[in-house]
């Protein structure tokens, strides 16, 4: 009441409806107002998606707890789960399509946000000529750009942080429980794209890339297409560099390999997983056999024929020719703890690219004539 009264007193010339609420001032107000509708739509998508993940995740969690299958999933079959696999499979049958769809949505979302929200931001200014309106006000081009990109980036930071929290929890709930290949482990692609701080990095990168493309291409439709392709390319590059600071480790296990099998032994074999002795939930990078004089013989599969005398049957001719000198099984891996190094590397690379793209925008906007 008092504020309304005060504004009436201070403006006796007449009602000025726009003067009542001033959250943002100057160019920042313009930056927010221009992206108001797309930001509201994005906010609605965020709320719906988070709500969906919370509902579906809680229901899955409930089933897991009531059926006591916390330790049992489709990837690992511990001994104690033998009589509970029915419940785990029923859970998969019930929700796997919904989980796969959600995973794809989470993976595509930053790319779509960059293409449909960020790319048109500046491209439309050039397509409709309104950049000329903004650039002839009392605000320098740099300040205009700072407001034009700063406001959406700040809102993206907040929104994607909320999404990151929810989707990290969600990924933890569904990981390994469903026959959705990207969601088996922390290192499979759906899991690593949709959890941790990486989510925030990917969204900020998409916005910066979309804005840069819009500024360079200056056409809305072309910018959308170029942004989508460029975002995918850049995301692929970041993904390739995700283990920059997570070198592989190696573990050695004594092993004895059998020579050429006598005919009567051929039936006495049992296919078993090699005892690589890597920690639980670590990412296997490669394994093979090591001879006494240091020769490495890589193996493709970690399932081999285990003979009754405790030796293993050689799967390759090379192994066979060195079988008497093979002493150890080596296995390279990344432990589960590297997940966070991976996420912070992805985030750091995304943010570095974001900063470089924003610098490019700032440089470019000065030079547009």
């Amino acid at each position: 009441m008092t504020t309304a009264l005060a504004s009436e007193v201070s403006t006796p010339t007449g009602p000025q409806p726009s003067r009542q609420r001033r959250i943002l001032r100057g160019a920042a107000w313009l930056g927010l107002r221009q992206e108001r509708t797309p930001l509201l739509i994005s906010g609605a998508v965020l709320v719906l998606l988070c709500g969906w993940m919370l509902v579906l995740g809680s229901r899955i969690q409930d089933v897991v707890e009531s059926e006591h299958i916390q330790g049992c999933n489709l990837v690992y079959f511990p001994q104690q789960c033998e009589n509970l696999t029915g419940a785990a499979i029923a859970l998969n049958d019930r929700w796997s399509i919904a989980v796969a769809a959600t995973g794809w949505l989470l993976a595509v979302l930053p790319v779509a946000f960059g293409a449909f929200f960020a790319a048109p931001m500046l491209a439309r200014e050039f397509e409709t000529g309104t950049y000329g309106l903004a650039w002839t006000q009392s605000v320098s081009r740099q300040r205009w750009l700072a407001a034009r990109l700063g406001v959406p980036l700040l809102i993206t930071l907040v929104g994607s942080s909320v999404l990151a929290v929810v989707s990290t929890w969600w990924t933890g709930v569904v990981e390994g429980r469903f026959a959705v290949p990207g969601y088996y482990h922390w290192f499979t692609w759906m899991s690593r794209a949709a959890s941790g701080p990486s989510v925030v990095g990917f969204f900020l990168l998409s916005v910066a890339l979309g804005a840069t493309v819009g500024l360079l291409v200056r056409r809305v439709v072309a910018s959308i297409l170029v942004t989508a392709v460029a975002t995918l390319a850049l995301r692929f590059a970041v993904d390739q560099a995700r283990y920059l600071f997570a070198p592989t480790r190696e573990v050695f296990t004594p092993i004895a390999m059998a020579g050429p099998l006598p005919d009567d032994m051929k039936n006495a074999v049992l296919t078993q997983q090699l005892p690589t002795n890597t920690p639980f939930e670590s990412e296997p990078v490669g394994h093979g056999l090591l001879t006494g004089d240091g020769l490495r013989i890589p193996l493709q599969s970690n399932w081999l024929n285990h003979l009754t005398d405790g030796t293993w049957q050689c799967p390759t001719p090379e192994c066979l020719s060195h079988h008497d000198t093979i002493v150890q099984l080596y296995a390279r891996y990344r432990p589960a703890g590297d997940e966070w190094i991976m996420h912070w590397t992805q985030t750091g690379l995304s943010l570095a690219a974001t900063v470089m793209l924003l610098g490019l925008c700032a440089w470019r906007v000065r030079r547009i004539r």
Partner: protein, 329 residues
Amino acid sequence: MNHPAQQQDRPTGAAPALEAVGLGLQYRRRWALRDCDLRLPSGRVCALVGPNGAGKSTLMALAAGLLAPTEGSVTVFGNGPREAGSLRRMAYLRQDKPLYPRFTVAETLRAGRELNPGWDQAIAERIVRLGDLPLDAKVGTLTAGQRTRVAFALVLGKRPDLLMLDEPLADVDPVARQELTGILMAEAAEHGTTILISSHVLAELDGVCDHVTVLRNGRIRLSSDVEDLLDDHRLVVGAAAVDSDGAPPELAHHEIVELRRTGRQTTALLKPSGAIDPRWDTSRPNLEDILIAYLRTPDPQDRPAAGAGAQTAGRATELTTGREEVTAR
């Protein structure tokens, strides 16, 4: 860089509102503007006249800092147009009048207020109200004439010292045109605003501007005070000359701007030097007569560049050259 206004630190009050020195802009191969020297003192209302593609919009966009010159320089009150101080002091209404289509009228005015420290909401609202524009209407739903009014409100609300208007009134009705021109002139008179206005409608410039600049093919063809222009020129009508190739001998000692023959009658626009032969019917031309004459005839400086093979230059033009050579001797 050797610009006088930049060399000495003149007080901004003394610097011309707009000064171009050897200004040129090249688009790929074509020069949109070339060798443009223009000095617009503060407080003038200057008309910028020229055919389509003459470089009017280019000159304004360069002065507004939207384009960067290929050669030469342009300053606004002594400073580069992209400096924050210059941006604050000038307003530019582009020919296509870009506005944010999804903003309401009120939001458009608010954008003006948010982006300009010297914003005058009263004048902006007055312009909008006079057009009966609802403040909550989306700009995208307005007619071209209504959008022009909003764009006008935006540039006048900025309270600029230099106002550049590129074909501002092309799509408003005659009543609104008169009304907006009236507001513009009142603002200019009250605040000493320098106005540079380009227009095709030559008649509407009469009585509005006190200075006129004619652009042709990217070069300045004429730049003069309107009073001087009206005083210096005479329109003469008489019988066709005997010599069909030359100018009428009795007009030979005057500078002929343009010469036209219709049947037996010859009409000429002159810059008289001395008395005009009384057999010719002499009258004082209006601004439109003078501007059309200059627009129709190419700049004498352009002619050697145009080449002898260029047949587009009319015969009357060639005659003018001959006369000028005579005058020069």
